[in-house]
């Protein structure tokens, strides 16, 4: 299961990470360039499966938090991941066995690979979200009672802050304030846990899934086959709606980008309208006023021609998109998962219904051929 990750792999992974970003997560472009630069200097990265981590070994997250839009202007110095890692080693009193990603979607999919290349530390093929989410406490470790402490934040100037909060919600509050003061985004070492905890609570294989999605998209384009079908097959997702973006309303309040996009139907959806509401990531999609997909399932807009994922920032008047719903990890569908990332957490008074069930009820086409699904999951 161990394999080396090189520049080509990272290119595919970054593309797939935009899909799992569910409209947000920050453009992986800057992260990708940082990883490529590190690989050129230090060599390929070892990716290991969670099963290869000994039960009692320690693993640590390497991530960014704050505004990805600031990272796009004030690019990292490149040493932040190593600074936070060294601080974490001091905190732990030992070298972690490996590092991993907090979220598979967006720019955070890339951050562990900078450290992985520079220090030649293995990266575990797992994450704690299976997608991108807007807040730090939204992890599968968190809903299972494992806290993200201690967390070490660093900026490019060399400032570091170590946070030992009472819980992950406090970690989120304190770290976000510190991040704002430190210049709008920081790099963190966080979510240290044991190999056993990562095996049990982590979401396995997500970096590999990102790479698969990216490779599939690239190959579909090269072979002139339908890129959207290709993505849906890999992600076991559904086509929710095809249309043209006719309105985008975006506001930045505090540290989040909130707003909505209105999509007018085309082809089979002509006459209907889809509204996607977002808070950094897409949270809920309403077709003619009725929910067709909600968090924690992923709502992803793909360019109707090329299949290229379109983020909420990239949504533009006139863009033709196919909006897809992809199933989230089953851990998010538990009561404790939905408490943290369900539609009600984001302020929508709607019951969560898994996308497979919504798709079956609505007769939406899924990944396996163009036929209707049976509600048992797209490719079951």
């Amino acid at each position: 299961m161990r394999r080396r990750i090189g520049i080509e792999d990272i290119e595919d992974m970054a593309l797939g990470a935009t899909v799992l970003g569910a409209g947000g997560g920050g453009d992986p472009y800057v992260g990708k360039l940082m990883v490529i630069e590190a690989i050129r200097k230090y060599g390929d990265i070892e990716l290991i499966s969670p099963d290869e981590v000994p039960d009692d070994a320690t693993v640590v997250v390497s991530q960014m938090m704050g505004a990805p839009t600031i990272m796009v202007e004030k690019v990292c110095s490149g040493v932040e991941p190593m600074v936070t890692y060294d601080e974490m080693v001091k905190e732990l009193g030992e070298e972690p066995y490996a590092i991993y990603a907090v979220e598979a979607g967006g720019v955070n999919s890339m951050i562990p690979f900078i450290l992985g290349a520079t220090r030649q530390i293995p990266v575990v093929d797992a994450d704690l979200m299976g997608r991108a989410f807007p807040e730090l406490q939204m992890t599968t470790l968190g809903i299972n009672g494992v806290k993200g402490m201690p967390a070490v934040l660093a900026d490019e100037k060399g400032n570091t802050v170590t946070v030992r909060a009472v819980d992950d919600v406090w970690l989120e509050r304190i770290a976000r304030q510190a991040t704002s003061v430190m210049g709008g985004y920081t790099i963190l070492a966080s979510y240290q846990c044991t190999g056993r905890q990562l095996k049990e609570f982590g979401i396995h294989g997500t970096p590999t899934l990102c790479q698969e999605i990216g490779r599939t998209l690239r190959e579909a384009r090269e072979n002139h086959t339908d890129p959207i079908d290709a993505v849906l097959e890999v992600t076991k997702g559904f086509r929710l709606f095809k249309g043209k973006v006719v309105d985008v309303d975006r506001k930045t309040d505090g540290m989040f980008v909130r707003g909505q996009a209105v999509v007018d139907g085309l082809d089979d959806d002509k006459g209907s309208q889809l509204v996607i509401k977002f808070q950094n990531e897409n949270i809920i999609a309403l077709k003619d006023g009725e929910p067709v997909c909600t968090a924690p399932d992923l709502i992803v807009s793909l360019d109707a021609e090329s299949g290229t994922p379109v983020t909420t920032e990239g949504l533009k008047y006139g863009a033709r998109v196919v909006v897809c719903g992809l199933p989230c990890d089953p851990q998010w569908r538990t009561p404790q998962g939905l408490k943290v990332v369900g539609p009600r957490y984001f302020g929508y008074d709607v019951d969560y219904v898994p996308i497979e069930e919504r798709a079956a009820a609505a007769g939406l086409s899924g990944a396996c051929g163009n036929g209707k699904t049976d509600g048992e999951g797209a490719c079951a």
């Binding site: 800057v30 490529i36 990292c76 110095s77 210049g183 033709r320």
Partner: protein, 527 residues
């Protein structure tokens, strides 16, 4: 400069991918001469040919009325795409320790990097998102960079500082130091004058701008020489920029990158002038491609996303366009399954030789409309009389679909919108389009781009951050408006015609009480 009222005529030239068009417009903005001539590989000889043709049309006596000459050209785009004639650039990045994770030009095609033999430096300085310093600027570091520039014969410097769109203080100071060391006239490009937020894209655009310095000079001087060869020695010369306004030669030397994509802009402005419409979708069909843009308040809508130029990601202002591979020379093919494709490959300007209706052997989009009998006066209909009527219908439907899709992609609301058809290939378009209200086909549609070039106005822009404690919002905006109007007048606009066309005020919440105001003013050329 022209002073007497007689010398109010304008010569406008626009270089397209297929044709170079030229027009002469009199003091009442009436078209008095127009021509189309093939765009040549060196571009300049095509400009000379087109210019010679229109000047000959009016004769040497009338030519004395010409007081202004405007050129919209592809010189800069071509230099980047062909990786030729580019300057040796030093890229100076201000922001260390920030930004060191990604090298300068990390994502550029190697060939283009080589063509510019760029050397890059990162020095301390730059700002945070809230205007605080990341680090002080270390002047000695910049003087050392200047030494390398001098010692190793670099020709141009591109300066990019972190968050310079919020605070340009370090870029401006670095520019002063470089001029002290290298001389007042040394070409220096500051990123805050070129692009917006997005460091790598803005740095890329600034480096390209720096590399185009000599191309801008060559373009301007050879244009002036071509004018002189026609006896036009005492005319004011302007280059078209991609927001639909003009820049003086001096300005063009500093901001050559703003000439990129001025062609489609000229078409949009020309279409507006010819129809008097201020809000519409403009479809410019050429020999190989169709550009669709949007006219809002008389000017082209700007693009909001990163634009690639010569495979380099940039973020300077560009017109918002959709380009599709449909033109008069687009090749029509019947597929084995009976379906028909139109383009994207084209015979280009050779359409008048290679198309069936001109006695050639290639079935083109032009042949389809000639066979349908809707393009009177084009080619010889008898040469396409034998085409299968079913094929003609299917191909025509495909042409219509391509245009309708492109128009639809640019519309911002579901309502029907006015569509203006221009360009030599616009004979392809039907007079009814799905999603369009009125479809206008102005007279002289074939040279709308050169007309757009000739009637271009002059603009002045201001971007300034005000402290609301010192200056209330109303006063800040009024001040910025006045500055923008002053800039437009300084650039050559008639004070009586200057008007503010765009005001944007963005509260910089993270700066406490700061307000960023952007204003653009536009006026007619002072005649």
């Amino acid at each position: 400069m022209a002073s007497s009222n007689e010398r109010t005529w304008r010569l406008g030239i626009d270089v397209g991918g297929t044709n170079t068009d030229a027009v002469i417009i009199d003091g009442n903005l009436k078209l008095v001469a127009a021509t189309k001539s093939p765009t040549t590989e060196d571009v300049m000889s095509g400009i000379e040919a087109a210019m010679h043709e229109v000047v000959s049309q009016i004769g040497p006596e009338a030519a004395k009325n010409i007081g202004f000459a405007m050129l919209g050209t592809t010189h800069c785009t071509n230099a980047i795409v062909e990786r030729k004639r580019l300057n040796k650039v030093v890229a100076l990045r201000i922001g260390a320790p920030a930004t060191t994770a990604i090298s300068c030009m990390a994502d550029w095609p190697q060939q283009l990097k080589d063509a510019m033999s760029v050397r890059d430096f990162i020095v301390h300085g730059g700002h945070e998102f809230n205007g605080q310093l990341i680090n002080d600027l270390v002047e000695q570091e910049i003087r050392e960079v200047a030494r390398t520039v001098r010692d190793e014969g670099f020709e141009s410097v591109a300066v990019t500082s972190v968050f310079s769109p919020v605070s340009d203080a370090h870029e401006v100071r670095a520019g002063q130091i470089l001029r002290e060391e290298l001389g007042e006239d040394f070409p220096i490009s500051l990123s805050s004058e070129i692009g917006t937020l997005g460091f790598l894209e803005r740095e890329n655009a600034t480096i390209l701008n720096a590399a185009l310095h000599d191309v801008a000079i060559t373009t301007a001087t050879s244009f002036e020489a071509a004018l002189a060869a026609e006896g036009l020695t005492d005319v004011a010369v302007y280059l078209g920029q991609n927001d639909g306004t003009l820049m003086s030669v001096d300005y063009a030397k500093r901001y050559p990158i703003f000439t990129i994509a001025c062609g489609p802009t000229n078409s949009i402005r020309g279409a507006s002038f010819l129809t008097k419409e201020k809000d519409a979708v403009v479809v410019d069909i050429g020999g190989t491609t169709t550009d669709v843009g949007v006219l809002t308040h008389g000017f082209p809508r700007e693009s909001m996303v990163a634009v690639e130029i010569g495979d380099v990601r940039t973020n300077f202002r560009m017109p918002d366009l959709v380009s599709v591979g449909l033109g008069g020379g687009s090749i029509v093919r019947q597929q084995p399954d009976g379906s028909v494709t139109v383009g994207p490959d084209s015979v280009g300007f050779r359409v008048t030789r290679d198309a069936l209706c001109f006695g050639g052997e290639v079935l083109t989009a032009t042949d389809i409309v000639v066979a349908k009998g809707i393009a009177p006066g084009v080619g010889d209909p008898s040469l396409v009389a034998g085409l299968d009527p079913a094929l003609v219908e299917v191909a025509y439907a495909e042409i219509t679909r391509i245009i309708e899709d492109a128009v639809d992609a640019m519309k911002t609301s579901a309502g029907d919108i006015t569509v203006i058809l221009v360009g030599g290939g616009s004979i392809l378009a039907p007079s009814k389009l799905e999603g369009a209200g009125e479809v206008l086909r102005p007279e002289n549609f074939g040279v709308a781009n050169a007309i757009g070039s000739a009637i271009s106005q002059v603009s002045g822009q201001v971007q300034k951050v005000y402290s609301l404690t010192d200056t209330p919002r109303d006063q800040a905006i009024a001040n910025a408006k006045a500055l923008a109007c002053e800039n437009a007048i300084a650039a050559g606009a008639d004070p009586d015609t200057v008007e503010v066309i765009d005001v944007e005020d963005i509260p910089l919440a993270y700066l406490g009480d700061a307000l960023c105001v952007r204003v653009k003013a536009v006026g007619d050329l002072m005649l």
